[in-house]
């Protein structure tokens, strides 16, 4: 086990900057997830930690040791590849033992370690098989085993679940979480799947365009996204974005967009008026036939279609400016297309971003304390059913 620290790490391929000045600290025993879309630099960053790519700039420390120029084999890291990269001509046993043999470990110890790893991952009946004779899930376990058997300081996992079918992916994800608790090792895990990131990571690093966008716990990222990218990348359906203008008003600040106008009872900062993007997650935007007193109203919307996901349903509505936004409706709701619904939300769930830079504006950071409101969670909104009982707050 060891901590990992990156200081100003960059990677350039010719004129292309794949990773730009990344600073990051991974605590000993932490499960850190690198999350981002394809080509965001997450895999390149992982490969630099592994030593498979040489950093163009910056320093990489594992424990207290600067490993920036150290050969991959001497960094005491193990990696699980997306394609598993098993040696196709070697049996499972040989796949597990090969790395240990190359490290000159005594035969008896190799056998002990292979046996122990096989037991841990339930690979014992498969030891004599070749990778081609294994199912996808079994191959994945062998790839994991090849990393575990080495007992490295740091585990690096590059989208290890992406080649599995949906059901097996969930199952393996849970196995990985259990395994990780049992081994209590430092893990750095690359994925583009936000569900994997949210369920597995102690902390998540969201990357885009080679840069770190935000580092935080899953809930921090979800509730207080640093910028538009993080806000819209996390959460399904995607966060609604409405362009508008924030300005001073008699009772605080006023948000005005085409067909939308509401006031927030907070003290206005000096920078108003300014052009902003209002962000609201569909889970935090409620569409119902009647307005709910005490909530912020975004006006009315016309139902275009309804998406039923089983345990929840979302309506896609056209609002004043002609824009389509998603809002939660009662699960299994039998709304007809063209129905007119009132859209309401609570101030705590509004996000404001600077229209030009996309950076978060902490317009609302005082809403909770100044007005002594109880933070309203998504669950509370869910729990209100159709909202037809009307009363709230």
């Amino acid at each position: 086990m060891a901590s990992v620290a990156l200081g100003g790490v960059s990677k350039r391929f010719g004129d292309t900057v794949a990773v730009e000045r990344v600073d990051l600290e991974v605590a000993d025993g932490e499960f850190l997830v690198l999350l981002g879309p394809s080509g965001c630099g997450k895999t390149t960053l992982l490969r630099m930690i592994a030593g498979l790519e040489v950093a163009s700039d910056g320093a990489i420390l594992i424990g207290d040791r600067d490993v920036t120029r150290v050969h991959p084999a001497d960094r005491d890291v193990a990696m699980v590849f997306q394609s598993y990269a098993l040696y196709p001509h070697m049996t499972v046993h040989k796949n597990l033992a090969y790395g240990l043999r190359r490290r000159g470990m005594p035969k008896r110890e190799i056998e002990e370690r292979v046996a122990e790893t096989a037991r841990l991952l339930e690979l014992e009946p498969l030891l004599a098989r070749l990778p081609a004779q294994l199912s996808g899930g079994q191959r994945q376990r062998v790839a994991l085993g090849r990393a575990i058997v080495r007992d490295p300081a740091v585990f690096l996992l590059d989208e290890p679940l992406s080649n599995l079918d949906a059901k097996l992916r969930v199952q393996t994800r849970n196995e990985l979480i259990r395994l990780r608790r049992r081994l209590a090792v430092t893990m750095i895990y690359v994925t583009h799947d936000q569900v994997e990131a949210m369920t597995m990571g102690d902390r998540i690093v969201v990357m885009n365009g080679g840069r770190v966008q935000q580092v935080g716990t899953p809930l921090e990222l979800f509730d207080r996204p640093n910028n538009r990218f993080v806000a819209t990348f996390l959460g399904t359906p995607q966060m609604n974005e409405i362009e508008g203008r924030l300005s001073r008003a008699s009772r605080g600040v006023e948000f005005v967009a085409e067909g939308i106008q509401f006031e927030l009872p907070i003290s206005a900062g000096s920078e108003h008026p300014r052009d902003v993007l209002l962000g609201i997650r569909p889970h935090h935007l409620w569409a119902a036939p009647d307005a709910v007193p005490g909530r912020v109203s975004l006006g009315r919307g016309i139902v275009e279609f309804v998406e039923h996901l089983g345990n929840e349903s979302f309506a896609y509505l056209t609002i004043g400016g002609g824009q389509t936004i998603a809002a939660e409706v009662e699960a299994g709701s039998t709304l007809s297309v063209g129905a007119v619904l009132e859209l309401t939300t609570v101030p705590e769930r509004l996000h404001f971003f600077d229209l030009a830079t996309g950076g978060r504006l902490d317009v609302l950071q005082d809403v909770g304390s100044d007005n002594e409101r109880t933070p309203v969670g998504a669950r509370e909104i869910h729990g209100e059913g159709a909202g037809s009982d009307g009363d709230d707050d």
């Binding site: 991959p72 084999a73 990696m79 990269a85 098993l86 090969y98 790395g99 190359r102 490290r103 080495r150």
Partner: protein
């Protein structure tokens, strides 16, 4: 209407195929027929299509008239040596070209291909002088060296395609497993590319087996002659003993034919693997 057109075009296509096949197979027919002709048939005019009385004894006579056994042994040594030399030179070269990043890598690959553009005869005089200076005329080693020199580029090109097709992640997993470069070659690349390696090497064996130009130019000592040059002795200044030449050729072709049958499918796969990469 549509069916009719397609029937007509199909008939035309098959007719064309039969004609092309006939043209291609005719030399083999002639080889087999001539090998069985009694000497009298050779001078008949017009020559009969088929031997008047098939004479299988021609095949036995050849062994008596020329030292065919020695030719066979020499040819096996030359083709085998060429194949081994190819393995020793081309496998590491292809590995380097497929996996190492170094300046001029692409240029080397182009040069490798460019060498294949020269007909061997262009290099004949220069090669003769080189062999003469090295004292390798009239020696099997001279032929092995020349045959290897002309076949290595092809082998390198073909194996580069095979090695490049091996997933990079497998090699990276090995790097993390502390497996050095040479060990990666022997533990991963060679075993995993075995079908390609066998195909490429057997192909060089066949090329060396059939090589004629260097054999007749560099070797005058009958005891050092390979089959191709040895059989050529049936071609005399005033007359050619066609029946013996063809009987000898038929026997010399059998090992090649068998080897080719073994590798032909993989050879095509190997060629395309090299082409696509």
């Amino acid at each position: 209407m549509v069916a009719q057109t397609s029937l007509v075009s199909r008939v035309a296509l098959y007719t064309l195929l039969v004609v092309v096949l006939g043209v291609m197979l005719f030399p083999f027919f002639e080889l087999a027929a001539t090998a069985l002709r009694p000497t009298a048939d050779l001078f008949a005019f017009p020559p009969p299509w088929l031997p008047t009385r098939p004479r299988f004894h021609n095949f036995i006579d050849v062994w008596r008239i020329i030292p065919l056994r020695s030719y066979f042994v020499n040819t096996v040594e030359i083709a085998g040596g060429t194949m081994l030399l190819n393995a020793v030179a081309a496998i590491p070269a292809a590995y380097a070209l497929a996996r190492f990043r170094f300046p001029g890598r692409q240029a080397v690959l182009y040069v490798v291909i460019a060498t294949q553009m020269f007909a061997p005869v262009v290099l004949l005089i220069a090669s003769f002088r080189l062999m003469s200076q090295l004292g390798l005329l009239n020696s099997l080693w001279g032929l092995i060296l020349m045959d290897a020199a002309t076949t290595v580029p092809f082998t390198v090109w073909m194996l580069t395609g095979y090695f490049a097709a091996l997933p990079r992640e497998i090699e990276e997993a090995a790097i993390l497993d502390r497996v050095g470069r040479w060990r990666r070659l022997f533990d991963l690349f060679i075993p995993l590319s075995m079908p390609g390696i066998v195909t490429a090497l057997v192909f060089t064996f066949i090329l060396a087996w059939n090589e004629f130009l260097f054999a007749v130019t560099f070797v005058t000592d009958d005891s050092k002659r390979p089959l191709t040059a040895g059989l050529y002795t049936f071609v005399g200044r005033f007359s050619t003993q066609w029946n013996y030449l063809m009987a000898g050729s038929a026997m010399a072709s059998i090992p090649v034919l068998l080897l080719f049958l073994v590798i032909q499918r993989r050879l095509i796969a190997g060629l395309t693997a090299g082409a696509v990469k």
